[in-house]
Structure formats: structure tokens, C-alpha cells
Symmetry: D2
Subunit: 299 residues, 4 copies
Amino acid sequence: MDPTAEHRYVITLSCPDTTGIVARIAGFLADAGGWIVEAGYHSDPATGWFFTRQVVRAESLPFGAEELRERFATVAADLGGDTTWTVTDTREPKRVVMLVSEEAHCMHDILGRVAAGELPVRLACVIGNHDRLGPIVRAHGVPFHHVPFPPPGGDPDARAAAKAEAFGQVRHLVEEHDPHAVVLARFMQILPPDLCRDWAGRAINIHHSFLPSFVGARPYHQAYARGVKLIGATCHYVTPDLDAGPIIEQDVIRVDHGDTAADMVRRGRDIERLVLARGLRWHLEDRVLVHGNKTVVFP
Amino acid sequence: MDPTAEHRYVITLSCPDTTGIVARIAGFLADAGGWIVEAGYHSDPATGWFFTRQVVRAESLPFGAEELRERFATVAADLGGDTTWTVTDTREPKRVVMLVSEEAHCMHDILGRVAAGELPVRLACVIGNHDRLGPIVRAHGVPFHHVPFPPPGGDPDARAAAKAEAFGQVRHLVEEHDPHAVVLARFMQILPPDLCRDWAGRAINIHHSFLPSFVGARPYHQAYARGVKLIGATCHYVTPDLDAGPIIEQDVIRVDHGDTAADMVRRGRDIERLVLARGLRWHLEDRVLVHGNKTVVFP
Amino acid sequence: MDPTAEHRYVITLSCPDTTGIVARIAGFLADAGGWIVEAGYHSDPATGWFFTRQVVRAESLPFGAEELRERFATVAADLGGDTTWTVTDTREPKRVVMLVSEEAHCMHDILGRVAAGELPVRLACVIGNHDRLGPIVRAHGVPFHHVPFPPPGGDPDARAAAKAEAFGQVRHLVEEHDPHAVVLARFMQILPPDLCRDWAGRAINIHHSFLPSFVGARPYHQAYARGVKLIGATCHYVTPDLDAGPIIEQDVIRVDHGDTAADMVRRGRDIERLVLARGLRWHLEDRVLVHGNKTVVFP
Amino acid sequence: MDPTAEHRYVITLSCPDTTGIVARIAGFLADAGGWIVEAGYHSDPATGWFFTRQVVRAESLPFGAEELRERFATVAADLGGDTTWTVTDTREPKRVVMLVSEEAHCMHDILGRVAAGELPVRLACVIGNHDRLGPIVRAHGVPFHHVPFPPPGGDPDARAAAKAEAFGQVRHLVEEHDPHAVVLARFMQILPPDLCRDWAGRAINIHHSFLPSFVGARPYHQAYARGVKLIGATCHYVTPDLDAGPIIEQDVIRVDHGDTAADMVRRGRDIERLVLARGLRWHLEDRVLVHGNKTVVFP
């Protein structure tokens, strides 16, 4: 958290589109003296749905976050039964839990960003299925928990049981913090459906391809085999359908015939880091509104 | 013009920032039944100025463009004496005049875009200081006027007089159409101050560098000499200060040590075309609001 | 063709990799006094194959293109039976035939580039399945042939016969020119297998997605439905497998939630134009070597 | 260092261009049985100079790095008195010293890359003019030295003396390691001319603008004032002329009217990190050859 940052409230709202929504919200804020410093609107002709994100200077309002929520609930109620909305206070830092494996570049990147004061976040803990990364994480003042997962092979039933046991531990460690985001920073384990469901809209994955190309395992090797000229990464919300959740952000980097699959693995990391960091920031700043399997992102 | 495009009104407004502006505008539109399909807002903390662009479905309003202008004038008047605003009707195509020289890639690109129905524009005419391009322009159904300019060298006074004479002709040919945009599509002649002033906010230039680097002549050769790794182009409004007007759009392309200055000239054309086409489209769609020497672009 | 361009010979070669290939080729050229101005090498560890492209100043050699071909054949023969190679002369302009339909933005772009002297090519003719584009093409001094294709619907057998008949005409018109490239500039008709085979390595398509995502029809609509944050285009050699041939070039452009499928269609054109123009230039300058289903591109 | 990476020798050479250079080098390598796995050539028509970088499998040669150097010296001697060349062994890790200040994002990024095994480097030490970063650096197993610099203001002579004293300490700490690279990772102190001279070709700076725009202090604030639509970063060799040394790498990121100068500072960090990491990697892999004030980069 940047202590010099201005104190603000962030309002998001989605509702069926109709005439007068902006007037209703803006009128409410104006009546209360609210000074809007950022405002994004989106009207989606395909679904007939309306989305907005508004940022208001806290000191321009004569009441606090709690009362803003109460009052705004009345506005939202006028806009139809399907309306969903949030009001957050930039003084309340968001809690993040990170799940990692051995490929630690995304974790290092996020630790570095938090250390540099770039991400508006409190890192509650890091959970790893190897213990090698503990010392660095702890040097950043962040708790590290080692939850071993069963290696590939062996008796399938025993492995499934061990995996379920491990995910039980992960669930426990995560939910203790009631985090705003659970970041799968190249975690390399597929979340079981119950966690996908319970963490819906909060579990964020970075997939190392430009989805929907190259779903599943070893996407860089798939990309190499196809001979593509750009490789990419995708940050998306986790859903039970593998690599098919709502996309938050994507980007690509150029490769050429001289890049082996191993080169692509290395070069792709630059895009994974960037795409995950952007997606996570937008999520934490309430810039991402999910509707069906798509996102509205107010950048 | 896309005849299937929906009929819309586009409102832009700039005024000193204060509480309640959005409520005032949105309330006005909601009262009239106006259905907003696009809305952009910008509040600039550095200048304390507010900017908005709103797009309304024409058929959602019970009156036409003329009456919308009259009524909106009342709203704008409430927002302070320095307020500037426009209301345009997407059924009234914008008129464009293009000035060209020998480097015709930007002109070919715009002609192609108009032929493909991509730019919401009526090409009023093309004015060239060489006559070679006449046949192609006319094949596109666009009038072409040849206005010769004096070549470099010779008696300076005679040359200045000939140039002033040529610019007089250009002014006459341009102003006959009262165009929404005068596009200097690599025109290679510096507009005299009186034309800069009279066409302020309408004269659009494409400069073949990433400004403010490499102002003036032969920017690719300057870029080559400095050994930069990216070259760029800048679309900006013309002002009497050479290459220093408000920037509408910029982009870059990667080069390397194997690119000679001539290669940069060739490769840079791809960026010039793209940047000019984007900047011109945004200008014609009233997406660009100028404030001081900077632009707000609602994309 | 740029008449001021230097006279050069371009050599390409692919062969099984082993020690001494570069020495063999460079030794041959050095013995003849050949001045190498560009040289690209690629050694592919996955296939054990070697690729090179060399550009030599014509006047540095004491013999012409024909004798260079004869002498180089001896060098190539030393490098194994599977070796393939070409020697071309930059003074012999390449012939291109373009196939178009109604979406003419790529065609306009290529016509503009040829008019601006940017592409090293002689446009032999344009073949369209609608006649609307004839006048503009002919204004560029390029012959235009209208070959009507049967519209969708109707009796399938009659339609198949009419289509075969139309493709027969296209084949005849194309092969008359023995072109170095047959460009499907958004032709929107799937080439029959016999043409794919006979024009292998010369038929170049632009597909309006970032392959392998969104193969087949209406890729922008597929992209819109998936909610991707970038859209792309792919220039590839045509093979009987739809949209699965060797990729020459790809690029992408950012979109957001505000872009409808129609906006993506419009915005994607900028990438289609650019990617096709780059791919075609590289093909014509002998920069693209195909191996299996992948390309080596010496840029 | 990746212990699974193949053992290789990297040869670089610059010399006056003439016929037969490639044949001479390739012939030498072929005679020794050398298997070339990467080869880059550049012939610069403007300066008449030739550049090459070759990578050879160590086990393909019947001798080691020392003898390769001795033998290659004979080849180089044949190519003229101005020839410069290097032969390095990928088994000998390069030593890097990093200088940092308070803006630590580039340092965090490089520490993370080294921890993730991405950069072929041994971090000899980090020198900071504040001591806050010590614990994190040491948690990475890297020595950290705190060298305080005088704050702005105060008596100019006393300040100059304190600064000279501090730079003396920095020189001592750096030269102890005879590093291949001295990285100014947002060090924010201008190197004195004697260090620029003594570390020529090894001192690498990241400047937070797209040079040559916005030389000197507070480049993001300069960019904000000019209203540019892209901001950038430049990795370059340090020379006594401020921000004017040979450019290794540059890149840009899009900004818009909604970005304040502070936003640009934050967003620019992503480009600074990336550009410095790329430039440093290329330097350490002997991919960068300097000639005059420009670089040849074999990527």
C-alpha cells in the first residue's frame, strides 16, 4: 500500500441495461457531494447488460464506507433484482494467498512488486508443494507453508487420496485468511471442482499459452510443434473447465525458428510474469467485472 | 459510411471539474429518454478539467440533432463559461481534404480504407504538388487538384512568393469544402502560420518519428545515426511550432542493426499508415478532445 | 522494383546438418570473389537440418545467374541427396496473381504498396469472384478477371459442378503467368486439393485469426464469444488441411470488452493487411524456407 | 547457470569488411571439426565493417578454450590490424555487480531471474546507497554493501568530496570482482568520467525513457508534460555523455490521458525491468558488439 495514496471508495455495479442508470448513480453521488475521480461505463449490446466502475474521493462524502454501502444498496435495488455491486475502501488492503510449485518466476516477480510497493496487497502467505522456496519467501516477511503433493506414478487410488489430503490442507491454509485473491503462480496442480466452486471469482491462474490455443500440458511444446510466430500467456479465473474460465488479460511475445521449445519456456516467462501481475492488479483494484464466461476490464 | 450503422448522436464536452457534472448531463439525457451506448469520462487532476464523450441512440430521443444542440446548450451553460462542447450526427458524413506529395503510401492507404468502407468519411478532394497521382485518385471517384510548389534552390524571394501563391491556391481549394479534417498525408511542405491558425484543430499531420525525438527533416536518418532499436510515427494536430502540436496517436516498430536508413524509411511506412489511419478515425468520430497542448482520446 | 536497388543474387539452401557446410558454401563464394552482403544460417537441433540464405553482390562475381546456378549445383550435390536450393536474381521481378472476393482491404493494401514501389513484384493479374473491384484494379494498370462462383444454397451437385468449373477457370488464368506467388487476399473460397498440391509453396493465404485458435469460418465471432483480449491474423502457405499449413507470419492487436464482433472485424483488418504484406514480401525475397509443416524465416 | 546446458564456445569478431572473411572463419572451424550451432553475420555498408558471432559445440573440437583462443588469434590476425575478437566458454559463469538505490524494482527482478535460473550469471555483490535492501539481497545468498552517498544540498565542495569518496569505495568494491558487467539498476547517481572510461563496454544503465527523448532527470514527468502516447525504457552502455551511450535495447508501453506522471512511473517499471533483463542477458551471452556509438545485437 502506498501510504501517500489518496483515500478512495471504489464502486462496481452490473445490471440489466436500461435508460437512466448513469443518471441514477451519478445523481446519488452528486447529492452526497461525491467527487468522482475515475468512471468507466460499458453497455453490452449482445447481452443487454450494463457495467460500471466509479472511484470517489473518500473525503468528498460526509459518511464512511459502511454508510456508503447502506445507501448505495438502495440505489442498486432500484436497478433490478439481478443487479450485483460492490463498494470497497482503498484503505483496507486486499489479502492474497499464493500457490507455487518449482517454476518460481511468477512468485519472485510478485514478491518483488510487493517489496517495491507496486501492488496494493497484503501477502497473507505462500503455499508451495516443494520447500525449496521457503527461505526467500520468509526473507520477504511472508509466511511460507510446505504442502507436499504426491509425485506422478504409483498406485492411482493412493495417489488420489494423498492429493485430496493435500488439497484439504491447502484449503485450510487458504481459507484461514479469507483472501480476496488466490493466485496460482504456476502451481501446476489442477484445482479440484469443489475449490473451483468455493473460490469462484477469486482463484486466478496464469496459463502459459495464448488461450484458447494450447490448452493443458506443455503448451510451449505444442506451440513449438505448430510453428507459431508468437507465444503468449493468459491470466484467467479458474473454473472447473480446464483453462476455459473468463479471461482477464493476455499478451504475446515474438519467437522465431531459432527458438527451441526450451527457449520458448524461458522467453515465455517474461510474458507470464507481466500478464499475471497486470491481471492480479486489476482484480485487486476491482477493475474486473465477470459476466458469464467473459470479463469487463476497466483499465 | 456504413449504411447499416445505427443512427447516433455524439456529444463531447470539456469544462472545469466539479461535483455533479456527470449527474447533470446524465440527468438531462435520462429525462429525455436518451439511451447511452458509449460513455467516456476523464477528470484531470493536473489541470482541474473535466472531459466527456457520450454516444446516444438517435431514435431513443423524441427530437432531432438540432433540438438536441439547443437543449444541450442549456446544460453546458450551467457548467461554466469556459465549457466547450459539440453535438454531431453520425448520419452527416465528415468531409476530408488530403494534401499529398510524392511519398504516396499514406494516401493509398486512406483511399483503400475509404473504398473498403472502413472510414466514416467523404473524401472531398486530394491536392498534390505533383500530378502523378491524379489517375489513381480519380479512379476512386475523388477529385484531384495539382498545385505545383517551387523546387528547392533558386532565388529565395521568388521562391517564397511562388510558395505563398501555391499555398493561396491550396487554401482556396480546401476551404471551398469547409472540411472537418485537412490531412497532411506526407505533404512535405510546412504550413504557413496563417493556415495553422485558421485550420487549428482540423489540420492533422503524420510525422515519421516517435516525437519528441527527431523533429524536422529526415527523421529516419537521424534515428539510424543514433542507433535506436525502435522507430515510430506520430499523428498530431498542426500548430505553428514545427512537430510540436498536440499528439493524437503514436506507435513504433522494431528495427535492428541490419536495417539501413533506407530500410527504416520503408519499414516505417507501415507505422505511418496505421498511426495516421487511427488518428484520423478518432478525430472524425469526435474521440479526440484537445486541451492545451495535449489530447484526451476516448478510444 | 526499385530501379536504384543493387543487383544481387539470392541463394537459399536446406540440407542435413553436418560439420563444414558453411565452410563449403563460403569457400565457393570466396573463391569466385563473391561479396556476401546478407547471410542467415539456422541449424535445427530437433530435425538435424541446416538452412541458409545468402545474398551476393552480382558485380562481385565474374559470371551471371545462369553460371552461378550451374556452379552452385556442384556445391549442393556435395551436401547430400536431400539438399534443396535456389538461386534467384533480384533483376528478375517476381510475378504475383491475387485472388479476391468482396472484402477488399488486403487487395487495396497490396495495390497501394505496389504503386508506392514498396513490394518487389509484378502484379500479373487480379481475379475476383465479384466484378465490383475491376475499375480500381485496372486504374492501377493491372488486368482484372471476373470469375463468378456459385452462391451458397441451391442444388449441391449443380453447385459443386459450378464451383469446379470456376476453379478450372481460375487455374487457367493463374497458370498462364506461372506466378511465384498466388495470394489469397481474403478470397473466402477453399482451394480444392489439386490446386493446393499444384501450387504448394506458392499459394499464400491470410487467415483472420491467430492460428491455431479459431480455424475455419467467422474467426472474429469465435474470438468474441471466447472473450479473448487480443485478436490476430496468420499468413500461411495453403495446404489441403484447412488453415493448417506452414505459418509464415502472425501478429495481434489488442481488443477489449467494448469491441463487438463487428468492431473486431474492422480492427482486425489492420493486422491482416500488415501480416499478409510482410509474409508476401518475405516469400518474394526468398526469405522463407519450408521444412515439414514449419518455416524458417530469415528476416 | 543451467547445469544441463550444453558446453559451448562463443566467438565474436569485428573487422573491416572484405571478401572471404566467412570462408576464412568457417574453414578454420571446419578443419578443426567444429560444429557451429548458432551463427550471426552482419556486414555494415555505412561503415564498411563486418561483425560475426559463432557458437560452437565444445565437444566437437579436439582442444579446449585456451587452445581455441591461441589458434583463433592467427585467423583474426589475417583479417587486419583493427580486428577485435573474443572467445568465451559457457562453462565459465560471468560475474555481475549491481548498483542500486531506493527504486529497487530492477534489482528485485534480476534477483528473481537469477534465483529462477534464467540468467547465466554469478551475482558477485550488490552495492546500495541505502541499506534497506540488505536483508533481501542476503537472503538470495548475495553479499550486500552499503555505500552512503551525500544527500542533495549542503556545501557543494563538501558534497563533491563526499561523493568522490563514495565512488572510490564503489570502485574498490566493484573492481575486486573484475566483473563482466556493472549494472546500474536505477542507481540514480551519475558515474564520474574515470569510472565511465575504466568500465567502458561493461557498465550498463537502464534509462527510464525511450532515448533520445527525455534525457536526464524525471523523464516520466517530461513525457507526461509532452503528452506522448507511449513511454519507454532504454538499456545502454554508460559513456561520459549522459544517456548518450550505445543503445543495447529499447521498448515501449502504451499510456493514455488517464495516466498521471505517477502512473507512468509505476507502469514504466514493467518496461524498465524487461529491457534491462534483455540487455543484460544479451551482453552476458556475448551477443552485443559495439562499434562507434552503435551496437550490433545478434539475438
